[in-house]
């Protein structure tokens, strides 16, 4: 009986997973973190999300995990046409005659995905909404069609968000279903040339026989290193491991530190520390980590497992620092840290820096986006802030325009289903409702079956803000235009639109992040917008050209440019004829906001009217403030 010799048995079970980890490390050169993360995910029965540039071995690693673990596996490649039946199983249409009437019932027979112990979900972000929703629910509940699932881990793969792809990125809330989140780097682009050399050598030595097998039968997968009984026993044993009290104490302190660092404004990236993930899932991973190293209970050092959870939950800077934060924490005697935490309690005098203050003010994870107080304060003049600009009317109109742009009125074969419409020709039977198509084939449907109506949802969209910083914008106008920019950034952040920020006078001064005009580093731009200085003369052509060039690459349709200015253009093509044409061709809406005194230059009206953009102007208020109203 295993009960009489638990230690011996546990060592044996741990050894099987250590072997799995080692074998997984051999599959891909230089991706050790991913190998460990996946091993922990399976041991802790958590789901994992792997992302990385194309061709870095995501799918290969996931498939190897499945093969090595000996688990019953089902692979599902997501694409825009994936249907409920691919996900759940075949349809059972039953007809019961009962006392003279007939009852039709539609049921689902559990398909291979629902019987899988490991589910490989390739290209998950390509899934249309109607498949993604049920899938994520199934993953969270581990229950479908009224029965519990044998599912241990789902491993999903997806592209890196930075890569221009005609797909919506998954939202942090959706990614939260995957406790383990791993980001793979390419060896070449990551500069790991030594590892690259190993891979080249491997390829050069490849036996022709093995290569031939690979080319006809796909990847050759390694044999299983453990039995299903071993795997399940290890999972049970790992879940039952004790967590030492000092580990829990350290965990609380770790969460405190992560919260503080996450609240820091200058950090960019996702922030989502949900209760779901940071309670049960995190502790399962910590236990699995301890189990894997053969420990009898989870010690503080096992908190290292949290590192594999953070890719979409913490800002990038905090992720990079994670090991350091943990190390520092484990090095600190607990009482010192407690004192430190005490100093930051509300009411206590804190002379710390601004980020600590912000952390105390708003501990919630993602409220930073909506809370204006979190954004850097606009620059002040003569030590006293001017009356604020009322930018809400502009933001409301802009939001309306953005929302309208999110669903393209044209039906699009590449789009996501949005309801049904009547069948137009027989080709569309493929997309028709299955049951209705069958009844139609039987001649029992009075009309034609309905088919999915697909409309394209734009891929997040993008907005570029062009801000006049010519000399005439000095003083209040600088402050007001900063407020407008910050407002737009908030709108964009809430919708995960990519943003671009170009300041201009006689030249365009784009603010690139990572070499790109459009990105999602909202807070970095917010900081930038607070520092604008007014110099030079006005030129519309250069900034419009810069913004349109930046927007040109993307295929999304929800693309906006907001031009913020106080005066007539003096330099460059003052009619911006070519830019207006280009914007029309690209389908970019050019919104104009005139903040100056006197009449709005007619060219601004032309720009907006031709491209379907909004027109706003700043109306001075009695108290010295400004209200943005439609022109």
């Amino acid at each position: 009986m295993t009960l009489t010799a638990p230690d011996h048995r546990a060592t044996e079970l741990a050894a099987a997973f250590v072997e799995l980890r080692t074998a997984l490390g051999r599959v891909l050169v230089g991706q050790d973190d991913a190998a460990t993360g996946l091993t922990l995910a399976l041991l802790a029965e958590q789901h994992a999300y792997l992302e990385g540039p194309p061709g870095c071995g995501k799918s290969e690693l996931a498939a190897a995990l499945a093969a090595l673990s000996g688990a019953r596996t089902h692979t599902l490649v997501f694409h825009r046409d994936i249907r409920e039946t691919d996900l759940l199983g075949d349809v059972l249409l039953s007809r019961h005659r009962h006392r003279g009437h007939e009852r039709l019932r539609r049921e689902l027979i559990p398909g291979p995905l629902l019987q899988a112990e490991i589910a490989l979900l390739e290209d998950l972000p390509r899934s249309p909404g109607e498949a993604l929703g049920p899938l994520l629910r199934i993953l969270a509940e581990r229950h479908a069609l009224g029965q519990p699932l044998p599912l241990e881990s789902a491993v999903a793969t997806g592209p890196l968000e930075q890569v221009e792809a005609p797909i919506d990125p998954l939202e942090p809330g959706q990614l939260d279903r995957f406790a383990v989140q791993l980001r793979l780097t390419g060896l070449l682009t990551g500069g790991l040339f030594d590892e690259a050399a190993v891979l080249l050598e491997r390829g050069a030595a490849q036996e022709p026989s093995r290569a031939a097998v690979r080319s006809t039968a796909g990847s050759a997968h390694p044999p299983a290193v453990m039995s299903t009984a071993t795997r399940k026993a290890a999972q049970r044993a790992a879940a039952a491991l004790q967590v030492e009290p000092r580990t829990l104490d350290a965990y609380h302190r770790l969460l405190d530190r992560l919260r503080q660092r996450t609240a820091d404004e200058s950090a960019s990236g996702d922030r989502l520390m949900s209760d779901r993930s940071f309670s049960s899932a995190a502790l399962r991973l910590v236990r699995a980590h301890a189990f894997l190293r053969g420990a009898p209970a989870a010690a503080p050092r096992d908190l290292g497992a949290i590192r594999y959870m953070v890719a979409h939950r913490l800002p990038e800077e905090v992720q990079e620092d994670f090991d350091h934060i943990l190390e520092e924490l484990l090095g600190d005697p607990p009482n010192v840290t407690m004192a430190e935490t005490g100093a930051q309690m509300p009411g206590a005098q804190s002379q710390g820096d601004d980020s600590d203050g912000a952390a105390a003010a708003s501990p919630a994870s993602d409220s930073w986006i909506d809370d204006q107080a979190d954004l850097p304060a606009p620059p002040t003049l003569f030590g006293k802030p001017p009356p604020p600009a009322q930018v809400d009317p502009l933001l409301r109109a802009l939001v309306g325009r953005i929302e309208r742009g999110r669903i393209d009125p044209d039906t699009d074969p590449g789009g996501q289903p949005r309801g049904y419409r009547p069948l137009r020709d027989l080709d569309e039977l493929i997309d028709a409702d299955l049951i209705e198509a069958l009844l139609f084939a039987d001649g029992r449907l009075p009309g034609a079956p309905r088919t999915f109506e697909r409309k394209r949802k734009s891929a997040g969209g993008a907005v570029a803000v062009l801000r006049d910083i010519s000399a005439s914008m000095a003083g209040r106008l600088t402050v007001w235009s900063s407020q407008v920019v910050l407002g737009i950034l908030r709108v964009a952040a809430r919708r995960r639109m990519r943003v671009g920020y170009v300041e201009f006078h006689h030249r365009a001064l784009p603010h690139h992040v990572g070499g790109r005009l459009l990105h999602r580093s909202y807070s970095r731009l917010a900081e930038q917008a607070g520092q604008a200085k007014a110099v030079g003369q006005t030129n519309y052509e250069a900034p419009l050209r810069t913004a349109l060039e930046g927007l040109r690459g993307g295929s999304g349709r929800n693309r906006h440019v907001v031009l913020l200015t106080d005066g007539l253009p003096i330099i460059g093509d003052t009619t911006v004829r070519r830019e207006r044409q280009l914007a029309r061709r690209l389908g970019v809406a050019l919104h104009t906001v005139f903040l100056g005194n006197g009449d709005c230059p007619p060219v601004l009206d032309d720009i907006s009217l031709e491209t379907g953009g909004l027109r706003f102007y700043g109306r001075p208020l009695a108290g010295g403030g400004l209200r943005l109203e439609e022109r």
Partner: protein, 322 residues
């Protein structure tokens, strides 16, 4: 001189010029890699693909992609299977009868072809190509391996005047070989004259069906021999130096390039072996690195692609000097 000389002669007979595309096509057949050729309409892209396929007596699947292309058109027919199932009906007094409905694909098209020509691939919605290109990459559909040797895709330049979406970078990476062609007449090369002369003299028939000059067995044998081609340490070091130069000097990264490990660390070795084999050698030589130019066309920024022959030259000299 290699076993594919007759096929090369056939290509030369049917199409004037385009040396690089012809060599790259043969390379694709030998290495079993996919190839993407981009160029304006009327530059013999499709014709070359067709001659190569028919000349090697391979099962050939031609498909013109369009804006509404669906997966089923490429992989066969969608079949709905209906099976009667007995049920107990649940409640007493009910006679139960049920139908189980299963949707599957009857393999056809791409799944049964040895060479597939995917015309105007850039016209299909980028997202719809995902599954197609995954099939190309894995060479299996579900669990079933497919007989496909090479897919030859063509596309129009991704300028504004052609109404197509740019290919998704991940999708473009499935084509190991990538070339850009331009029309002979438009670019005014000498071959333009040959082209016109040949049509004027009647020495080419406009659309004859090419006779097979080679077969699958020959290609299989070549593919097997390819893996025996030696890739020495010097060549590997040179390849790595070229890649290092692209990353460090030309700043190729994840946002501006597709410098993927799959392509440049795994497939590049195959391409180099294939190039050596086509040149009739048993070991890869430094000049074979020139074939890397057919891999970088759409994967790195234009200035880096144009500099590639120079980089290869420099790296080769350094390696030789050691």
């Amino acid at each position: 001189m290699s076993d594919l000389t007759p096929l090369r002669d056939l290509l030369d007979h049917h199409v004037v010029g385009h040396d690089e595309v012809k060599t790259a096509l043969l390379l694709a057949l030998v290495t079993r890699e996919h190839i993407y050729v981009e160029g304006p309409p009327g530059t013999a892209k499709t014709r070359l693909a067709e001659v190569a396929a028919k000349g090697s007596e391979l099962d050939f699947f031609f498909y013109q992609l369009h804006r509404d292309t669906r997966l089923a058109e490429l992989v066969g027919d969608i079949v709905l299977e209906r099976r009667k199932v007995k049920t107990d009906g649940g409640a007493p007094g009910t006679a139960g009868e049920a139908e189980r409905i299963h949707q599957r694909i009857e393999p056809g098209g791409l799944l049964t072809a040895e060479v597939a020509v995917l015309d105007d691939i850039s016209r299909a919605p980028g997202e719809a190509l995902n599954v197609l290109l995954r099939i190309l990459n894995e060479r299996r559909f579900g669990a079933e391996p497919i007989p496909l040797m090479a897919a030859i895709a063509t596309g129009n330049p991704m300028d504004d005047e052609y109404y197509n979406e740019p290919l998704d970078p991940a999708n473009l990476d499935r084509f190991a070989l990538q070339l850009r062609v331009s029309g002979l007449i438009q670019s005014g090369v000498d071959e333009a004259k040959t082209l016109i002369d040949r049509f004027a003299s009647g020495s080419v028939v406009e659309q004859p069906d090419p006779e097979p000059v080679t077969d699958r067995a020959t290609l299989d044998a070549l593919n097997k021999r390819m893996y025996e081609v030696e890739v020495g340490a010097a060549v590997r070091a040179a390849l790595l130096d070229v890649l290092r130069t692209l990353v460090l000097e030309f700043e190729c990264n994840e946002t501006n390039s597709l410098l993927t490990d799959r392509t440049f660390l795994v497939k590049a070795i195959k391409i180099l072996r294939g190039a050596a084999l086509l040149a009739g050698r048993k070991a890869v030589d430094l000049p074979d690195l020139a074939a890397l130019s057919w891999m970088t066309t759409f994967r790195v920024p234009p200035e880096a692609h144009e500099a590639l022959p120079r980089i290869v030259g420099r790296v080769s000299r350094q390696i030789q000097a050691v």
